[in-house]
Symmetry: C2
Amino acid sequence: MLTISQRGQNMPASPIRKLVPYAEAAKKRGTKVYHLNIGQPDIETPKPVRDAIHHADFTILEYTHSAGLESYRRKLVEYYAKNGIHVNHNQIIITTGGSEAILFGFMACLDPGDEVIIPEPFYANYNGFAIAAGVKVVPLTSHIADGFALPPIEAFEEKITSKTKAIVICNPNNPTGYNYSEAEMQKLKAIILKHQLYLFADEAYREFTYDGKQFSAMHLEGVDEHIVLMDTISKRYSACGARIGAFVTKNQALLDAAMKLAQMRLCAPYLEQVAGEAACDLPDDYFDTTKAEYQARRDAIVGRLNAMDGVFCPNPGGAFYAMAKLPIDDSDKFCQWLLESFENNGQTVMLAPATGFYGTAGLGRQEVRLAYVLNIESIHAAMDCLEAALKVYPGRQ
Amino acid sequence: MLTISQRGQNMPASPIRKLVPYAEAAKKRGTKVYHLNIGQPDIETPKPVRDAIHHADFTILEYTHSAGLESYRRKLVEYYAKNGIHVNHNQIIITTGGSEAILFGFMACLDPGDEVIIPEPFYANYNGFAIAAGVKVVPLTSHIADGFALPPIEAFEEKITSKTKAIVICNPNNPTGYNYSEAEMQKLKAIILKHQLYLFADEAYREFTYDGKQFSAMHLEGVDEHIVLMDTISKRYSACGARIGAFVTKNQALLDAAMKLAQMRLCAPYLEQVAGEAACDLPDDYFDTTKAEYQARRDAIVGRLNAMDGVFCPNPGGAFYAMAKLPIDDSDKFCQWLLESFENNGQTVMLAPATGFYGTAGLGRQEVRLAYVLNIESIHAAMDCLEAALKVYPGRQ
C-alpha cells in the first residue's frame, strides 16, 4: 500500500500559517485583516540590498561554494566581529535560511531518538525540524508570570538524560521576546560544560533588544566546541524571502559533518547571498532607526494589551513578538473565531495561538503571540479589533 | 561527550566536490583545469531571466506562500502541459532546488529503515538525502556494456522487500545520460502497480534528449497516486545557483504531508522564484539552440573518448553527462593524480570518479563521469589532456 511516513503524519502544521485559509476567506468577504500572526515585517528591505540585486553582475546563475560565497563569508566575519563574535570565514557555512542551519545542527549532532531540551514556549518550527530529524524535543516550561525568564538550572538538570545532546535557545526569543541576561547565559554555560552538551543558539533577532544589549552564546568563554550559532538575515534586514542564514561554530568536527550536509544540497541561493553580502556594508547606524521603530511599536502594543480588561502581557526585551494572556477558553478557537465570525468596522486581526509554541500538551490555551511587525497606526487598529473582540467573544472567561 | 551523529559521520562527501582542494592547488601552481567534474554549464542564463531579476519590483523581500508564488505555479502548469504533463497549481510545491524535492519525497513517504531501489550508477546525492532521512538505498546495478539500460523487471523484484516503499529514477539520467524508453517506463509502471510502490522521477534534464523525446513518469496512465515528479530549473535554464525546484504529485495525502515539510522551512527563495517564473515565458524554441549545442558537445566528447586506446563510452541519449570506462586501476586515484601530478602544456582536466555514483562497494573503479558543460574547443583541449594522461598514468591497466 502507498503510505505516508510516520514523520510525515506527525509533522505539525505551522501554527503561524494553519489559519491562513480562514484569513483568505475573511478577505474574500471584504474584511480587512491585520496580520500580527507572522514575523513578516512591513519595514522596507534596505535600498543598498535591493540595489545589489538589481545590479547583480552575472551572466550565468552558477552554483556557489557549498559553504557559500567566500566574499560573503569574509564580510560576515567583520559583521560578527562588530558584535564581539570572533570567527573566521571557514567557521561559517551559509545556509538556506536560519531553517537549514537548525536542520543541519539537529542532523549533524543528534541521531534518531536523541533529545534536545528547549525552553517553551519556543519557535514552533523547531518541532518540525526535530520530527524531520527523528529527534525528541524535551520542553522545559518557562512562565508568562515570570516574563518567560530562563528556568532554573535544577529544572534543566531534571530533564537531562543519557540521550540529551543539546539545549536550544532563541535569544532574543521568538515567541516570547525575552532577552536572556548574561547571568542566565552563564548558567547555561555551566550546564553544557557539566553535562557535555551542545548549545544551539538561534540569534535571528540579535539587533532587536530594547532594554540592554544581547549577550550572544558566542560571548561565552571556554566553551567554543559546544556552541553552534544559527543565524539568518531574514529579520535583521527585513529580507525574510531571501532564505539566507548561517551555521557558525568553532567545532571543527561539527563543521566537517555540516559541510557534508551542505554539499548534499549543493549551495544556498546565489542572488540572495549577493543580497546578504551587500547588507554587511550597511552603515553602523542602520539598526538605530529600525530598532527605534520596533521599540515604539512594542511600547504601543504592550501598553494597549495591558490596558485591556483581563489581559496580561509581559514587556518583551527583544525581537518583535509579544505573548499575551487573554481571558479566553481556547486560543485556537479564539484566533479562528476572529477570522471567521468577528469584525470591527470591517476589520479584524490575525494572531498566532500560543498552543503551537508549547511542546507540553495543554499549555498556551489562554495565550497568543502577537508580532508587532506593522506600523503603529495599524497596531492601534488591530488592538481596537482585539479589544472589541474580547468583549463579545462567546468563549470569554 | 560532544559527539557527531552517526548520520553525520556516515554522510558521504560529494564525489563531485571532494577533489576540489586538489583542483585549487593545481590552479595555484598555474595549471589550467578543465572542469568536466560538475554539471555547471557554461551556457548563459537566458537574458529574460536575468532581466526579471534586475527589474524585480519589490520593496520588501517577503516570505512567499510555502508552496511557492501562486503566479509561478500557474505558469508552471502551462509549462508542464506543453510537455504533456497535466497538473494543477495546487499539485505543485516549489522547492529549494531539486534537492529539496528529493528530501521531501524521502521524508514524507519513508520512515527510517524503509528502502528505496535505485538503478546504479545514480546521482550521488541521493545517498546523502537517504542518510539524512534514515532511508536505506538498495542499488540495482545497470551496466556500461548495455549503455546503462534499465535492469530487467526480475532484477527489481529480487530487491523488493516488505520495507521497499519507492523506486527512484533520474530520466534522462545523471550520471549515465541514459534516456529511458517508453517500454522501460511501462515496465516500471507494472512494478509499482504490482508492489504498490512510489516512483520518484527526477526529470531535471527533461529537455536534453538527442535521440528521441523524453517519456515522463507523469505520462504513465492509471498510476497518478504513485508518481512524484522531482524537478529543477538548474539545468533547464542554466540557473544552478537559483536553487529552485518543484515537488509535483497528484497524490493528495502526499501533497498534504509535503506541504507541512514546506511550511517547516517557510518558503523557497523569493527572487529565484521570480526568475523561474520569467523562464516559463521563454519562447518555445529556446531549447533548440541549447540542445543543438549540447548534442554537438556530446558527439565531440563521445567521439574523442571512443577513439582513445582502451576507452569505452556508450553514447548517452540525454542530459549532459557521459560515463566512460578507462584502462585504469582506480578512478579515485586517477582523478586525483590528474590534478596533483599531471599536466599537458600547463593544462589538466577534472573528472568525477564513478565510484561515488555506485551504491555497491567496488563498482565504478574503472569508470569516470564527464559533464560536457564546456564549449567544444574546451572539450577538445580537455580530451587532449585525458588522452595524454592515459599514456603516462602509472596505474594504467
